[in-house]
Symmetry: C2
Subunit: 439 residues, 2 copies
């Protein structure tokens, strides 16, 4: 990528984040009456439902905190985080300490804590809010929630489990994904060694079960022996989810490699065995990066709609009918995750295919999802690219994927510029601290 | 409707039922290896998943039985019913007698009995199979299942209930709908008086809560006081579901009126009080028919896609974003139910608007859903009318809505011809017994 292109991209991403996305959520999502966040917002910011979805509230709390800790120390953002933290502390948990799925505007519980995903976002959100503010209670909430997730993770839906596992037990990719993300986000707040143990175990599941190099596909659900049973869920591919997992793993492996490199450097100064071990680990990680970026590439090729542009939401590996009516719709988060996956793959390999995929996705995003008129991105497009729903936020879309992707990409733009030996690209609005995804 | 048009319609419906729909399911859905029915069938009948969904299995059992009891005494259809009945008897129920949601091909349970809807279809299916065959065990299963539904109906999802009802309790239209349909289908198999009591109570809920004459809409969920809370589910409209409920109610009211008329006729011969009561009930039922057909009309006007044709799947009463990505898709069952609602409304009122709506829907169905190449109807179209999924059956589409609608319409065509004083319209392939929807 030339410096000129790097500057052009960075300018666009900073502008989108600071002039379109952040202002939209700051203006419309803050509930100045009842506290917390409103997420059901029409194209122009008009509220269409006042229910509060705990996991979206936790994601928004995480995002404001992360912007503050990683992008710019803007005091306003801590205040915006605080309204979410206060509301969730007060109303978010049931008597067991599990996080409800939904509350009404005043915080009265509407929907039970029916799986552990609200809890996962609550744990990372309060960890980041603790980093932003030093608030001790938030740290305790984060750690208590994290411990409770570990107790519940073997049965993430508890009494709400409908599947009778003994007949057909499939491993789902959602669990290793969230485990890795949580471990990376909680990071130094966890007991020593825990992060690396969680990361290792879950990378193993993804690389040995879900990524199928021979079939050139990342399967959402796989039998414990790695086979693909003849059923819809056994053939299900979700390109956006695969790309999200892959960039998490790429980030994690490169973070781990850097730590190992530093450790090996130190060890090498003392004895050569340590250096050799470090070298072997580095070779393993290089092979892992090779596998993961290969998977990014075959996921992109298979997931892209070569007729009408954009990535499909769901696909069937055999091209049989998927079990989802919305399979061919184009969703904002899929494309946000794709941007991160391609840019990070390019950063780690330097291969031009990834830059091409990044350019193609960026072009699709800014000509279809971005709404220059009212700010933020549209969420749900028909296959052809027009908006199927005009909302900017809802029960499933909040202040999360878009700003996280913009922040991640801006950080990589800066790293690419630094690696090229130059200063950060122009138009940088922030203080030069690169986005540290892993807290 | 002229006799020529009546004949034309009837010819098309008989041909579609007998040469397209029945052959497709007879050829592809019968599992000659493991018994029971396969429903995940591609456009050309190819199997894409062998799981067995109990409620679809029960619907198919009902349908073969119903064809036999109401359309033609074709021995083959009893055999096809038997394979479903045997499989469901053997594998369908959990140890409490509740019906699993899904089984694998061999009948091993995959998904728990997570609500009562599988049970509702099992009850009517075994009732009809009993009528077709005289099988006592099936009658016992039907009645035991019916009793169990009555125990469970105040909490239809049992331990799977995620909603915390005390915060926002909404009445859903699905429950009165299925109660009325079940009571009408079970009919004379229930204890005396039960059918009329169930019908009365549930018609009351639909007419007093869900049909909102002032707002000219049928609401899917309403607060117990009839108000519409400010939330997505409080504004949800599902035109297909509304039309389905409305034609059930129209059928029920006209069946009840006929019985009352007969009773009043007898009573009138003995004393005049009975005749006066009969007259008052008849006036009430006439008012009910007026209300229900008015609701058919405003549902049609609101639910039709005036730009691209066909009925929307979901809508928001205020035109705000609905909570469903697939809201603007065109679904087969919506249009099957619409055909019945318009034709029955026309039959009961003679008003030309209903005939117009019937013609319009018929035209849409036979130019978009019907697949002359491989038989059966497509299930899921994009807003513009092209197939989003090419499947003919799946997890939610089986041998049910299409043949039921064709059978219902053929019955009405015959009744219209009889009312006009003529013989049944030409091209009748069956024995002239009209379709008796209520068993």
């Amino acid at each position: 990528m030339t410096n000129a292109e790097l500057t052009q991209f960075k300018t666009r991403y900073v502008k989108n984040l600071e002039e379109s996305v952040i202002p939209f959520w700051e203006k419309y999502s803050i509930d100045r009456e009842a506290g917390g966040y409103l997420t059901c917002l029409e194209r122009d910011g008009r509220l269409f439902d006042a229910d509060k979805f705990t996991w979206l509230g936790a994601r928004e709390l995480w995002m404001w905190s992360k912007l503050y800790t990683s992008y710019r120390r803007e005091p306003r953002w801590v205040d915006l985080a605080q309204t979410g933290a206060d509301f969730l502390k007060r109303y978010g948990r049931d008597p067991r300490g599990d996080w409800y799925f939904a509350l009404d505007r005043q915080g009265r519980p509407l929907v039970e804590a029916y799986n552990i995903f609200s809890d996962c976002f609550a744990a990372v959100a309060f960890a980041e809010y603790h980093r932003a503010t030093g608030d001790r209670e938030s740290l305790e909430i984060a750690l208590a929630t994290y411990r409770r997730i570990q107790e519940r993770k073997s049965n993430p839906k508890g009494r709400f489990t409908k599947q009778i596992g003994s007949t057909r037990s499939l491993k789902a990719m959602a669990l290793p994904m969230i485990q890795i993300w949580m471990a990376e986000e909680m990071g130094d707040l966890l007991e020593p060694g825990l992060r690396e143990a969680v990361v290792r175990e879950n990378i193993d599941q993804v690389t040995s079960l879900h990524i199928d190099r021979e079939r050139r596909a990342v399967f959402e659900r796989v039998a414990a022996d790695g086979s693909h049973p003849f059923c819809m869920e056994g053939r299900l591919l979700t390109p956006g989810h695969a790309l999200e997992v892959l960039w998490f793993l790429l980030r994690t492996v490169s973070r781990r490699s850097r730590s190992a490199g530093l450790a090996a450097g130190k060890a090498g100064a003392a004895n050569t065995t340590g250096a050799a071990e470090g070298g072997a680990a580095a070779a393993d990680d290089a092979a892992l990066i090779e596998l993961l970026t290969e998977a990014v590439l075959f996921t992109a090729e298979r997931g892209w709609d070569h007729e009408q542009g954009g990535f499909f939401y769901y696909m069937d590996y055999e091209g049989l009918p998927p079990d989802k009516l919305e399979w061919d719709m184009k969703l904002w988060w899929v494309h946000a995750e794709a941007l991160c996956a391609f840019l990070i793959s390019y950063q780690l390999t330097g291969r031009s295919e990834f830059l091409e995929w990044f350019r193609r996705t960026d072009d699709y995003v800014f000509s279809h999802f971005d709404d220059p008129e009212y700010g933020e991105w549209f969420g749900y497009l028909h296959r052809g690219g027009d908006a199927a729903l005009t909302l900017k936020g809802g029960k499933w879309k909040g202040f999360f994927h878009v700003p996280r992707a913009l922040l991640t990409c801006i950080g990589v733009f800066d790293e690419l510029a630094a690696a090229a030996g130059g200063p950060p690209p122009e138009h940088s609005q922030h203080d030069g601290a690169k986005e540290r995804h892993h807290g």
